[in-house]
């Protein structure tokens, strides 16, 4: 469970670094995580990134298959995009004004 940065997209806004509950992200020219194995997988940074440069993935040791998950916030909507290793992708939109049904 960890995150991957797409450095060509990163705009060095440092929002991810400010929000990481483990303070694991450093930003020089672009953002990076020095110790990906220390990541909790909470996705706080993924949701905070304004340019979808951070992808959440499952480590192979917990059955990860190479998929990446990014998020884009639009008002109260959170669009989650899951890019699968076969090149296809799926988007799920959650309205933060809607309660969980379960």
């Amino acid at each position: 469970m960890s995150i991957l940065f797409e450095s060509t997209r990163c705009i060095s806004c440092k929002k991810c670094a400010a929000v990481c509950p483990g303070s694991l992200i450093t930003v020089d020219e672009t953002a990076r995580i020095e110790h990906p194995e220390r990541c909790w997988g909470c996705a706080s940074c993924v949701k905070e990134c304004p340019v979808q440069a951070i992808g959440l993935y499952l480590g192979e040791d917990v059955g990860g298959k190479g998929g990446r998950m990014t998020a884009r916030q639009e008002s109260t909507l959170l669009h989650w995009q899951i890019a699968k290793s076969d090149g296809t992708s799926e988007t799920i939109t959650v309205d933060l004004k809607d309660s969980n049904k379960y």
């Binding site: 194995e37 990541c39 909790w40 997988g41 959440l56 290793s85 933060l96």
Partner: protein
């Protein structure tokens, strides 16, 4: 390291659930200064980082706070403080209304009432619960916030709290923070035991891997009386992602089944620990793996589940999509986590009064570090933060001026500088952490032992942990981040010794899994009491306290 001195009236250590709520409450009762010191950023720090699936401690219509007390005492096998539970339960609904006013989405029925999930739970969208709380704190100008600063030691003289010592996690800065009163709200402890996935995904765990038991360890070292560390917490979770199971069990009625498809929960009971015990037993008896039976749910339920998990644990949704299998196609495998020490779910933590004051004058505790009051969940931590803040506001006027031991503080600073100034050591902090987790796993009831232990194993665990502790002074730190990891390891080792001592004293099995003694497999009347401890002259003194 550069020295910085800060003076405040009310110091809050930890800007998580309880700490943030306490800061807001304090401002309603006092115009004195308040400072939150947090080792990360308060927007997403603590247990609520990813969000929360529901409010799990709420008193719905037709029920009373006393009902909640009875439920929590029953779940804890009788070892819980009724006085603390009642004062907490009385505050639960008030805190929900406050969070709703701050912007939390809560599901309502056509009459405007909250929609419940069972009598204690209400449905929400909890993805933004922590940002909402943090924003309220940031908007309150009376509250000072010091982020990315790690508090590691109290300043105590004559059993009175005078402040705390801290270090920046980025720059070589040593903080001495003086305060008239202090609230410890650091959360509980993960990482004492070898985790479910000790490799790359070792931090994919239930509890925040960044909650390292600082509050417990500071209290132990300062001589505070602590309670019930033997009552460990193990959560039943989805395998691999360690995602919550309650949404499946309560949301779509998924039953726990074994590999033969048999519903086994009726054989073992449905308290928190019995649900995990059943799963462990079924596996041990050759009936595993165990699952939550989700096959057969509707496509609409699939979609709602994926959304619900995105709001609290997105990795589970990622797993379903990556595998191309919905929960309706495939049952969800479940497992117990490694044990944690967490007073929000069990009774572990500071021994406190009903005002949440610890046995150290002027030091209060709330949330996961506060003992005796299990089943708090989020709202219970809020309620405790509220109680502690009100009492702290009153206490400020009574605080006596006591001279501080400046020599001691200077020595502590030099001790830290020793780690930074030392040439690269052969001994690595992470290696010692692995050693500690392996010792706890093997000898103090970890996953590999089906959570059970016996006296001889516990004594071995103590020897091993003491041995690791002796290697601590040999560690070196290249920067402040590495110094933080040394301090966190030290906290965990301090706490491990207390956990082992408590497990050793409770010579019975009152709670399966949480404190499972192979050599004492049954409940014993003489242990219908609290097991407390206090460090006196470097030795841990155990005290049995009557039930309250």
């Amino acid at each position: 390291m550069e020295s910085k001195i800060i003076t405040t009236d009310f110091l809050i250590i930890g800007g998580g659930t309880a700490g943030c709520y306490a800061a807001l409450t304090f401002c309603e009762h006092s115009d004195k200064k308040v400072l939150i010191v947090e080792k990360a950023g308060i927007k997403r720090s603590g247990c609520l980082a990813a969000g929360v699936n529901a409010i799990n401690a709420y008193i719905s219509a037709g029920h009373s706070p006393q009902d909640y007390v009875d439920y929590a005492v029953r779940d804890a096998g009788g070892i819980a403080r009724r006085d603390l539970l009642l004062s907490m339960s009385e505050g639960l609904n008030r805190t929900v209304r406050k969070l709703e006013a701050l912007g939390l989405t809560i599901l309502k029925d056509e009459n405007g009432g909250y929609v419940t999930r069972g009598w204690r739970n209400i449905k929400i969208n909890g993805e933004r619960i922590k940002p909402i709380l943090a924003e309220a704190v940031k908007n309150q100008s009376q509250i000072g916030i010091l982020e990315r600063v790690n508090v590691f030691e109290y300043i105590v003289k004559d059993n009175q709290i005078l402040g705390a010592l801290a270090v920046s996690i980025d720059e070589p800065i040593f903080y001495t923070i003086y305060a008239k009163t202090v609230l410890c709200a650091t959360g509980g402890a993960s990482g004492l035991y070898k985790p479910n996935n000790p490799g790359f995904s070792r931090h994919k765990m239930w509890y925040p891997p960044f909650n390292t038991g600082a509050g417990y360890a500071m209290g132990i070292r300062a001589g505070a009386e602590m309670t019930s560390f033997e009552m460990r917490f193990v959560a039943l979770r989805c395998k691999d992602t360690i995602a919550p199971t309650g949404t499946l069990a309560q949301g779509v009625g998924a039953k726990q089944i074994n590999a033969k498809g048999e519903v086994y929960e009726s054989k073992y009971g449905v308290t928190t620990s019995q649900r995990i015990y059943g799963t462990v037993r079924e596996n041990a008896d050759g009936n595993g793996p165990c699952y939550l039976k989700t096959t057969g749910i509707t496509p609409a339920q699939d979609e709602e589940l994926k959304k619900a998990y995105l709001n609290m644990c997105p990795s589970q949704t990622l797993k379903w999509i990556e595998n191309g299998k919905n929960p309706s196609d495939e049952n969800v495998e479940i497992e117990g986590t490694e044990p944690y020490i967490v007073g929000g779910h069990t009774a572990s933590g500071y021994w406190i009064g009903n005002d949440r004051q610890t046995t150290i004058s002027g030091l209060f505790a709330a949330g996961d570090v506060a003992g005796g009051c299990p089943q708090k969940y989020v709202t219970g931590a809020f309620a405790e933060g509220e109680l502690a803040a009100i009492a702290a506001a009153e206490h400020i006027g009574q605080a006596r001026a006591v001279p501080v031991d400046q020599m001691g503080i200077a020595n502590t600073k030099r001790w830290l500088e020793g780690f930074l100034g030392r040439s690269q050591s052969d001994i690595i902090t992470d290696t010692l952490e692995d050693e500690m987790q392996s010792a706890m796993d093997r000898y103090a009831g970890g996953i590999s032992q089906n959570y059970s232990c016996d006296e001889e194993c516990l004594q071995t665990a103590l020897q091993k942990i003491s041995g690791i502790e002796r290697k601590l002074p040999l560690l070196s730190a290249n920067n402040m981040r590495e110094l933080l990891y040394i301090l966190e390891l030290r906290e965990r080792l301090t706490l491990c010794k207390s956990v082992i001592a408590h497990l050793s004293v409770r010579k019975e099995t009152r709670w399966h899994i949480f404190a499972e003694r192979r050599d004492y497999p049954d409940k014993r009347k003489e242990f219908e009491c609290f097991i407390n401890s206090r460090l006196v002259g470097g030795e841990l003194e155990v005290i049995k306290r009557e039930l309250i």
